[in-house]
Symmetry: D2
Amino acid sequence: MTQLSDQAGEVAIQRGNTLASVEAMAAAHNNWGRWGPDDVLGTLNFIDEAKRVEAAQLVRSGQTFSLSQPFNTDGPQKGWRRRTNPVHTMTDTGTDAEFGDQGFPHGIGGADDFIAMPLQCSTQWDGLGHIFDRGNAWNGRRAGQVVTSDGDQVTGIQTAAARIVTRGVLLDVGRALGPELGSDEGELPDGFAITAKHIEATIKKQGASSDIRRGDVVVLRTGQYARTLRQGWGDYAGGSAPGLSFSTAPWLHMSEIAGIATDTWGFEVRPNEFDVAFQPLHQIAIPNLGLYLGEMWNPEELAASCATDGQYDFLLTAAPLPITGAVGSPVNPIAVK
Amino acid sequence: MTQLSDQAGEVAIQRGNTLASVEAMAAAHNNWGRWGPDDVLGTLNFIDEAKRVEAAQLVRSGQTFSLSQPFNTDGPQKGWRRRTNPVHTMTDTGTDAEFGDQGFPHGIGGADDFIAMPLQCSTQWDGLGHIFDRGNAWNGRRAGQVVTSDGDQVTGIQTAAARIVTRGVLLDVGRALGPELGSDEGELPDGFAITAKHIEATIKKQGASSDIRRGDVVVLRTGQYARTLRQGWGDYAGGSAPGLSFSTAPWLHMSEIAGIATDTWGFEVRPNEFDVAFQPLHQIAIPNLGLYLGEMWNPEELAASCATDGQYDFLLTAAPLPITGAVGSPVNPIAVK
Amino acid sequence: MTQLSDQAGEVAIQRGNTLASVEAMAAAHNNWGRWGPDDVLGTLNFIDEAKRVEAAQLVRSGQTFSLSQPFNTDGPQKGWRRRTNPVHTMTDTGTDAEFGDQGFPHGIGGADDFIAMPLQCSTQWDGLGHIFDRGNAWNGRRAGQVVTSDGDQVTGIQTAAARIVTRGVLLDVGRALGPELGSDEGELPDGFAITAKHIEATIKKQGASSDIRRGDVVVLRTGQYARTLRQGWGDYAGGSAPGLSFSTAPWLHMSEIAGIATDTWGFEVRPNEFDVAFQPLHQIAIPNLGLYLGEMWNPEELAASCATDGQYDFLLTAAPLPITGAVGSPVNPIAVK
Amino acid sequence: MTQLSDQAGEVAIQRGNTLASVEAMAAAHNNWGRWGPDDVLGTLNFIDEAKRVEAAQLVRSGQTFSLSQPFNTDGPQKGWRRRTNPVHTMTDTGTDAEFGDQGFPHGIGGADDFIAMPLQCSTQWDGLGHIFDRGNAWNGRRAGQVVTSDGDQVTGIQTAAARIVTRGVLLDVGRALGPELGSDEGELPDGFAITAKHIEATIKKQGASSDIRRGDVVVLRTGQYARTLRQGWGDYAGGSAPGLSFSTAPWLHMSEIAGIATDTWGFEVRPNEFDVAFQPLHQIAIPNLGLYLGEMWNPEELAASCATDGQYDFLLTAAPLPITGAVGSPVNPIAVK
């Protein structure tokens, strides 16, 4: 593993002083004001119309891939901070239509349904109002001025409704580094911290279609979701997981990506790389960089395809539901190759 | 209006006998077995990979349009059959993060949220399990074998998760026929039944980019949603509305479109064109044709663009949330030109 | 109507200066500290064990009355501040059990259900965390220290779980004053402000069983709910209504009642008795007096019984669901005579 | 343990043939038609007005006890058949009221809340539409005619709204038999089947106030809930538990009780006493006897009181929320001594 270490990155991590590490990183890596004082889009600003034309030109075969996990009651959530799995219920059914009396004329019958769920229970985008740094939200606004119990008054997820169509790039770190780490399955072990060096090694191994450019959305596969498909959810929701090292904050900043998503619950490596911490990379990425983070994505079919044809970039449409004032949204991201 | 009448279509409508009209239409226009006995996709089968390559090539400027209405408590629903507006609530807020004690370390704060809503409360796809014809679901299955209180066991909306990327075509019937009907606003009046002749007239008026081909998704604008933006919701949910005539069933069948969406609550003209009826065109379209119907879409920005540049076709991605067993799904459809 | 006026009370109402009126009333009528600095029960402290023994002795015939309105989707709510009607859905049904396959052995079948609702959508108790006066909650605590997005950390409704068993007294102001106001139906007109004089007149008219004593819960019937049963909900939720005058605050304080409930949406007369105001009597009653308020109760059957037998007091059990941290609770209050 | 065996009861249990056992028991113990063909109340008919007068006379000290567990997200549910724990969310908070801008005038602030929960997630009554026996609901109706996806059309829980005020009797089987079974904690071990002999032994040990009479509601304490308070929920929801033996069906029938509740998830002993079975005693009790079953009640404080003063009967009010068409209801049962 020595060859995978990242001396520069590790400097950023003072294990015993999370706050100092966060303060230093936020001071060095921050996009406040970059798109003016009224900005609500953060790194989505990196996606312009030319970028979308570039992305559409990546479509060659017409194959599509849903990058969404299933939304149902058998999901991984255990109720932490009221994050349950979705509860989907029927208000009319085919059984009733066939045998019962639904009150409709001329033989028409219907089924209808309802859902109750946390917006971040399964495949999701974190909105820019999801995380705060010392009371500050994205672009330096005070958190209490942004998200009240009536929702996000400024950066609600509906602001991104028409934005996220761009070039997507799969970085299959699981397949790239797994063998070196002893995994025949193309998976990183839980607790493995992915550094900028690991990212660069993956890009190099995957080849030219993996070059990361301004405005891309990176889909980073650790392989943990694949593992749960074999072994059951276990502690997928909040437990130990591979994920990005706190030290990747400079890379997230300098790469000028529009967003990044992982196949894990929490994007960052868990346990976090500090003695006492809770998701410190979120604290940099969302309020300081204005970076859109995706979690619990499902890259499995796409990754299998990319491993076969060697094309790692694609047209990505990942449109959140425009729920007014939401700080996150379920999403069914679609990759087209 | 005489020149807009549709003698052939009107033959199909026996005003005093809805059931007979439905029976005759279903006998004449039915796709059961067309894609084999196990099919769960219906007209989505018309979208193949070549179709998606064709669609991607329509992207020229990189402009994007969300075709979704807002999801919030101020929507049009009034509780009919338990269709309420979405209730979005916060489980953590910025106010708490700034002033309160959320229990997180090192200055990180968070906001999180929850939603309870009918799946067809706002911009949506009807799934193939949504409507039955005399106890039969799509492809001739018995309704009670398809949709139980545990959801759609066969044609649940998750089956369409990766499918709906195709060429979209806006048919702005409101702008095309509105002036003739006395509307300066480019809107059809409530109760106006759109026939195949009206559709053809619209296509002709819009020009070549509006030709309808196998596998397209048609976005049909009546202008009713625009009217609610000016006048308030009124009876948008279930009241009188412009919409497709029952007589368009043959056109829906023969055009081999993959789906069709309107800017109205119920797709069909309301009141329906029979003495006693409830959504009889649904009864043909969903269980007999296997046709995907979209409702409550928002074509306004797209329509303004098309009226300006004269290009009515575009790349459409309209990915439902893969809610296991759902008979419909909220969707944020994205058009890229 | 002159004979029903209340000069003393009207002094308290400066129509053009709600805040000054509230400040003066709160200064004069306030129970902070009365039960110590840690108190979470407010006027429920007036109910002691002897009071319950007294109440139980009122049971003579064994007749019971539910004072709850129905909980269902046909309720009066219109979505104001996300107050919808309850959405009750089935997760298993008899139709499925009879015809379908629920996956259970030996012929057992089941039905099960789910609800999504605002806690104050129908018959309810307001908890002490429901209303604040200039940032202060009950007993002088700061509002932000009491109710966060995680719920009421101090005075959550679960604190009242075992408390509300006491003597109830029906004050049927509708029947007592209705005739004088021109109503043959025993109902007060919308917008009618009930003053202390009206309350006293009602007590006098009803007789000895209506004497109000320390620890009682008053059930005050205006007749508005009866009117909705005849005429439909109309603007029951938030519209014009009979209800208590702001000037009754001294009576609510000095009577030492444990709680008071009405058959209206909002307890107070609406429109409120000021040029610009929103529920100013709540602002005195809950945070300053610590008084439990009930809303949307259904006194109809009980009132008919009391009008017949002349016994207006009864054993009342009105137990909230002990939802941890809730600021209100649905309740099915039970009167036993 | 020999002395606690119950030869008669065990005859009823053919371990290898659950269906035959259920058929025989249902044939021998059935109340269909007992209260006429239109009955919707079942054993609640045993509670008459005289019974309630008798119950009220049990009030001596005025002490009250809530028999409800807390309703919150930290409950025992794990999502089986969509039974989650309650999700309680705030739509307005004190933090917002104190610091934010809620849009209210004159310094009034508010907090409000919402809940999404299965109706049987915590302390509950099973309604008569909750369980079916070979497609039959209570009183011999076909299940599909009673409970559709629109709810229980006949025996919905609202029918019991004003009914359940009666004499309650605590049978503390845990304390009565625990010592004999080696428990110093007054708890029965998981998997322990309580037979009629055990019930009779408990009554004998507790003394005269425990005599069971027509119309009583029995609150049966196994001690399992107390164990979870010490040890955590573990598999409380659906796992191994003490509970009533299938062989108690004759006792449940002949005792003419109005209802019976336990401190366990499932009322019956689990695992059930057959090779393959799911809750077979429910299959007798609800559809055949029309018996109201309570589950997940919390008898702890009441039991401690009864153990001290030796008075095991009390006035019980256990009013379900009148949710139209519900097959169960959360309840906060109140005992008054």
